[in-house]
C-alpha cells in the first residue's frame, strides 16, 4: 500500500456492487458523508467514477473528488489518500446504516411455499363455500345446485390437497400430517379439517356421480350404504366448509411474516368473504340461473364482506407491514381483485334480474378470479415482507418504543443486565 508513480497504470476500478439503492442515496448526501467514510479507502461511488488519473492526482488525505471524506478522521488502519485502491478492493466497503439491519438481509425467513400453496388457499375457499351451497341445495331440494356444488367441492378439495402435498419437502411423508392433533399448529388442525372435509365431500359427491351415471357404478350392496351416508356426509362437509375456507387465514397469520402476522385480526374475514364470493361464482358458472339464487346471494354477501374486510384489514394493520400489500405484484393483484369483485357483483345482480346464463357465467368467472387474486396477493405480500428486513424491524421497534413510552419495561428481549 504505497503511493508510486505506477499507480496511474493500474486498470480502472470495477464498479462495486451495492446491495441497496437507498444506501447509495444516503451515502451521496454530503451531510451524512462523514459517517460513511471512516475506514473506506475509496468512497463507494468515487471508486467507479474516478479514473486512475484522478486517483493518482488526488491530494492525499483530502480527495476532493470524494467530497464525503472531508472532515472525517482516519482510522488507524486505512491509509489516507488515493493510493492502494486495488489492494483496498480486498476490504469490502463497510455499510453502516442499521435501518436495514444486517446488510439488508432478511431477519425472518419466508416459508419455502410456492404458488402451489397459494393455489391451495384458493381451492380451499372454493371447496368450503361449495360444500355449504351443496348442503343448502340438499336441504331445499335444489338438485342441480346440490350436485354441481358437491362436485366442485370435491374437485377443489382434491386439487388443493394434491397441490399441498406436492409442495412438501418430502411428499411421500404427507401422512405424517395426521400423526398428531396439535391445537397450537393451524397446519395440523387444517390437515384434519381437510381430511374430514374431503371424506364428507367425497362420499356425498360419489352418490351424486352414481345418480348422474344412472347407477352404473359397480357398487352392489354398497349402494344402499352410500345413499344412506349421503346426507350425513353432505352435512359433515358443510360443517367443515367454513373452517376449511377460513383456517388458512390463521395458518398465515400464525407466523413471523410481518404482513401476515399484522393482518391477524381481519384476515379470516377477508378469507371467508373471498371464499363466499368464489364458491357463489363457481355455482353461477355451473348451475342454471333458476337454481342459482342462493349462490348469487352468497356471492353478493361475499363481495360486500370482501370489500369491507379488505379495507378494514389494510387500515388496521401496521402501516409499514401493510406496504407489501400495495406494491409490486401483490399490489397489482389486490387492486384487480377489488375491481373484479365489484364487476362480478354488478354482473351477479344483472344475472339475477335478467336470468341470462352468459352474464351469470361471466360474473362467476370474474368472482372466482377476484378470489384467486386476493389470496395470491396476500400470499405474495407475506412472502415479500420477509425479504426486506425493514418490515420486520420497523414495526417491532415501533411497538417496543410504544410500550416503553407507556412505561411497560418488563417484556423487552434486550435488557441492561
Amino acid at each position: 500500500m504505497t503511493t508510486s508513480e505506477y499507480d496511474r497504470y493500474r486498470p480502472p476500478e470495477e464498479p462495486r456492487r451495492r446491495r441497496r439503492r437507498d444506501h447509495a442515496a444516503a451515502a451521496d448526501s454530503p451531510s451524512e458523508a462523514s459517517a460513511y467514510a471512516v475506514g473506506t479507502a475509496v468512497a463507494p461511488s468515487a471508486g467507479s467514477a474516478m479514473g486512475p488519473d484522478a486517483l493518482a492526482t488526488a491530494p492525499s488525505g483530502s480527495a476532493p473528488a470524494a467530497g464525503r471524506r472531508v472532515g472525517a478522521r482516519r482510522g488507524g488502519l486505512a491509509p489516507a489518500g488515493g493510493d492502494g485502491a486495488r489492494e483496498m478492493a480486498m476490504v469490502p466497503e463497510p455499510q453502516f446504516a442499521p435501518a436495514d439491519g444486517y446488510y439488508g438481509r432478511p431477519v425472518v425467513k419466508a416459508p419455502p411455499w410456492d404458488e402451489r400453496v397459494a393455489l391451495y388457499l384458493v381451492c380451499g375457499g372454493i371447496a368450503g363455500g361449495s360444500a355449504l351451497l351443496a348442503f343448502g341445495g340438499q336441504l331445499t331440494g335444489r338438485d342441480a345446485l346440490r350436485c354441481n356444488a358437491r362436485l366442485t367441492a370435491l374437485g377443489a378439495a382434491g386439487v388443493g390437497a394434491l397441490a399441498l402435498v406436492a409442495d412438501l419437502g418430502r411428499p411421500e411423508r404427507f401422512l405424517n400430517m395426521l400423526r398428531t392433533i396439535k391445537p397450537t399448529s393451524p397446519m395440523s388442525l387444517g390437515s384434519w379439517i381437510l381430511a374430514g372435509f374431503s371424506t364428507g365431500a367425497g362420499v356425498a359427491a360419489a352418490a351424486d356421480v352414481d345418480r348422474l351415471l344412472g347407477q352404473a357404478l359397480p357398487l352392489g350392496p354398497l349402494r344402499r350404504v352410500l345413499y344412506g351416508l349421503e346426507a350425513p356426509s353432505g352435512a359433515l362437509a358443510a360443517l367443515l366448509g367454513a373452517p376449511l375456507a377460513g383456517y388458512t387465514a390463521v395458518l398465515l397469520s400464525d407466523t413471523a411474516m410481518p404482513t401476515w402476522n399484522a393482518a391477524k385480526d381481519d384476515l379470516p374475514f377477508v378469507f371467508v368473504s373471498s371464499a363466499s364470493l368464489a364458491s357463489g361464482g363457481m355455482a353461477m358458472i355451473t348451475t342454471p340461473t333458476a337454481q342459482a339464487g342462493p349462490a348469487r346471494a352468497l356471492a353478493l354477501a361475499g363481495v360486500a364482506g370482501d370489500l369491507v374486510a379488505t379495507k378494514a384489514m389494510e387500515r388496521r394493520m401496521d402501516p409499514v407491514a401493510a406496504e407489501p400489500l400495495h406494491q409490486g405484484r401483490p399490489g397489482w393483484l389486490m387492486r384487480w381483485s377489488e375491481r373484479l369483485a365489484i364487476a362480478g357483483g354488478i354482473g351477479t345482480v344483472v344475472s339475477g334480474l335478467t336470468r341470462n346464463r352468459w352474464v351469470a357465467a361471466a360474473s362467476g368467472a370474474a368472482l372466482v378470479t377476484a378470489s384467486a387474486f386476493t389470496r395470491f396477493g396476500v400470499f405474495y405480500a407475506g412472502k415479500d415482507s420477509a425479504l426486506d428486513p425493514r418490515y420486520t424491524i420497523e414495526p417491532q421497534k415501533r411497538r417496543l418504543a410504544a410500550r416503553r413510552r407507556a412505561g411497560i419495561m418488563h417484556d423487552s428481549i434486550t435488557t441492561a443486565g
Binding site: G169, A249, A301
Partner: protein
Amino acid sequence: MQRLTAPDSAAVGDNPTADAHYAHPRARKGFFTDTSICIGCKACEVACKEWNRNPVDSNYELSNSSFDNSEGLGADTWRHVAFIEQDRSRIEAARESGRALVSLGMPQIRNADVPTTAGEAITTAITGAAPGPLSAAAVPPASGLPPAPELGDLDVLSSLGGGPTRPEDARAVDTTPPDTPEFRWLMSSDVCKHCTNAGCLDVCPTGALFRTEHGTVVVQDDVCNGCGTCVAGCPFGVIERRKDGIAQPKTERSAAPVTPTRPGTPEPARNVGVAQKCTLCYDRLVDDQTPACAQACPTTSIKFGEREDLVDAARERVARLHAEGRTEARLYGANPQDGVGGTGSVFLLLDEPEVYGLPPDPRVPTADLPRMYARAGIAMASMAAASALAFMLGGRK
C-alpha cells in the same frame, strides 16, 4: 462452568421441559454468547458444519458486503458469525442506546446506580473525546492482569480494560468511560435461540420438532415432511428447509442414512427437503459432551452450560462492562418475560439487536393464537350464517 453431570433438580424456573413431561428432565442447557470477546474466527461455524456433516451452502461466492460470506443462519449453516464494521458515530449511538436502556430501568440483577453514573459520565466523554486508538479495550493499563473473575473464563478484554473485576467493587473505581474508538468490528456468533416458547415447535404439524429433556428444540429428521410451517413460525429466521439442488424428484431420494462413499467423493447431502437447524448438539449432550461449536471456540465467547448459571454469568459480565463505561453492552434473550419467554441461547450484544440481524422485539406468533382462533371462529360462523341466509332470501327455486 460446564457442569455436565445430570442434576437431579428438575425443571426449574422457566425451564420449558416441565411442559414436556419428561420422567427425568435435566437442567435446561443453553449458550451464553459473549460477543464482546468474539474474534470472528468462525471456528464455531466450521466445527458445527463438520460435526453435523452439513453441506456447503454456496459455490464459495463472496457476499461482497463484509468479511462474512456465509451470510446468515440457514438449513446448512447452524452457527453463523456476523461481522459488522462501525465508525465512531455508530459506536456513540450504540453507547447512547445502551445507556438509555439502563436509565429506562430495564430489568437488572442489581442496583442500577453504577451503570447510570457511567452513562451520565459518558456524555462529557463523548463530546470532549480525542481521536481514540484503534480500540479502547486494546490500551493496556499500567496495572497487571487482575485475577480472573468468578466466571472461570479467561476474560482478556475486560481485564485489560482496567475495570473492576466484581460488580460490587464498581462503585469504588473511576467509571469514566473509555475513549470512543474511531471504529470497531462487531463479531457475533448467532445460533438457534432454543426459545422457551418456540414458534417453530408450536406450529409444526407432524410433531417432528420436539422439546428435549435438556430444554432444547430439535427436529426429528425422519418424521419431518418438509411442510415448511416452522420456517415461517420462527421469529428469528433460524430454521430452514434444506434445498435439494439435485435434478431428481424428491420422492426418489432415499430417506436412509448416508451410504459411505469412496474417499474423496463428496457425501450426498442428508435430510434433503427436511427442516434443519441447530440441535444444540443433542447427540453430544446425551453423551455429556460439550457442543462442537462451544468446544471449538478459542476465546470462550461461546459458553455452554446450564442456562441459569449462564444468565447469572451474563449479568455479571454486562454489569462489569457497564462499570467500565462501556454502556453499549446489553443482554439479549435473558428476560423470561419477553415475547418468546426468554431464549436458551443468551447473547451479550454491543449494539441494538437489529444491527446483528436479530429482531428487536420478537414475539412468538402462537402467543396470539387464541385470539386468532376466536376471530376466525367469528368469521367462519358469519360465513355459515351468510349461506343460511342466502338460501332463505335466495329466491324461489
